[in-house]
């Protein structure tokens, strides 16, 4: 079984890794006390997907508040995607935000700055 599921809580997002379609979903707030442990499986899933599969990888994100360690996890993941993109791999991020909450879009912009792969910030 290559799919990944991390149940969401008040302080952590729900995470769903769909291996067959190459999609990782994350939705919610992220301010757990143990970000690195909580996300270890997710980071490993992404690394393994990029290593073992040659299909495109898309991150579907609807994240609101991220604490500092969660920001670090996301940046590491985006950096890894960027490295793969530089060697010709197809990767993308779709970051969804509520149009009433422009602040989320501004934050997503910060992440986007360092990425040359398709990074879409989508209001809904």
């Amino acid at each position: 079984m290559n799919d990944l599921i991390i149940e969401g809580t008040v302080s952590s997002p729900s995470v769903k890794g769909d291996w067959a379609n190459g999609i990782l979903h994350m939705e919610g707030d992220s301010y757990p006390e143990n970000s690195y442990e909580l996300y270890a499986d997710m980071v490993a899933w992404v690394a393994r997907y990029l290593e073992e599969s040659s299909e495109p990888l898309t991150l579907e994100l609807a994240l609101l508040y991220l604490n500092t360690s969660s920001i670090k996890v996301m940046m590491d993941m985006f950096d890894e995607m960027e490295e793969r993109f530089q060697t010709g791999r197809q990767v993308a991020v779709n970051w969804y935000f509520d149009e009433e909450n422009e602040r989320v879009a501004e934050l997503a912009e910060e992440f986007k700055e360092d990425c040359t792969f398709p990074f879409n910030i989508i209001g809904k």
């Binding site: 500092t68 920001i71 670090k72 934050l107 360092d114």
Partner: protein, 285 residues
């Protein structure tokens, strides 16, 4: 004098190649010396190559360390920037939330919670004044001949409970939307009246509370009477109808040992009296 190694090597190889010298002890020794020399050269060669590759490895390592350092620095800067953004937006949200938790959304006047806070501040100040007064009295009575002690009640805080008369009738006759508009308009009118004297807030329903810090009851009565009279004179146009209304006011002044509850309850009782006496009046409790 410098030695030409190429020439020397050639000379030695020529000697060693000559068959007639092969059994000569000097040729045998020279041949061994030649082998040792070759071995030394090879070893030197290996050492040089090793040293070069080691140097190369260190250069690579330094390069990758510096790349990693740059990457971490970039990440750190970005993280702090994103964190700062989050903190800034949280701070703004907190300010907005605090504001909405203290303001009545309809009239935009301070709400009951805010008024309780204001009253508590006025009370703290009042009680400090009381304490100072008491201390002063004790000092004075020590200086005064016995039997001449005086009691100066401190009365520099007044509160007024204001209720809109027959508000239910406005709602029934014109609808809740008009009722709301009337509350907003009266709120604005009264706020203008109270400005510079104290603070007015919505206490609940059609009831408002006025706090007049530093006001003696007689002065407070003048302010509240003016407010009552102005509300009475004011009328609102709704479609083609005119809505007139009035307010009943219960006024109470702080007296020694009053608590917030007892002061509010005095104002409440006075309001009840104003209502039962036919409304549109100020009653002092």
């Amino acid at each position: 004098m410098t030695t030409d190694f190429t020439e020397l090597e050639k000379t030695i190889q020529d000697i060693l190649a000559k068959p007639e010298y092969q059994d000569h002890p000097a040729s045998v020794a020279l041949s061994k010396l030649w082998a040792v020399n070759q071995d030394q050269w090879n070893r030197m060669d290996r050492l040089t190559r090793l040293s070069d590759s080691y140097q190369d490895m260190m250069l690579q390592r330094e390069k990758s360390l510096s790349e990693r350092f740059d990457k971490h620095l970039r990440q750190l800067e970005k993280m702090t920037r994103i964190s700062d953004r989050y903190q800034r937006s949280l701070r703004q949200l907190n300010i907005e939330l605090e504001k909405t938790s203290l303001i009545d959304p309809l009239t935009e006047l301070p709400n009951r919670r805010m008024m309780m806070r204001r009253l508590s501040q006025a009370f703290d100040y009042q009680q400090e004044e009381d304490q100072q007064e008491e201390d002063q009295q004790q000092e004075d009575s020590q200086d005064r001949p016995q039997g001449q002690a005086e009691n100066h009640p401190v009365e520099h805080l007044a509160v007024a409970m204001v209720d809109v008369d027959y508000f239910k009738k406005v709602n029934d006759e014109f609808g809740h939307q008009v009722g709301d508009d009337v509350l907003i308009a009266i709120g604005k009118l009264m706020e203008k009246e109270i400005e510079g004297h104290g603070v007015i807030g919505r206490w609940g329903g059609e009831e408002f509370l006025v706090i007049l810090p530093g006001y003696k009851i007689a002065d407070a009565a003048i302010v509240m009477e003016a407010l009552r009279s102005n509300v009475n004179a004011y009328s609102f146009q709704v479609d083609e109808k005119t809505v007139s209304t009035s307010v009943s006011i219960g006024l109470a002044g702080y007296q020694d040992k009053d608590s917030m509850d007892s002061l509010l309850s005095k104002a409440d009782n006075a309001l009840y009296l104003a209502k039962s006496k036919g409304r549109n009046s100020v009653v002092i409790g």
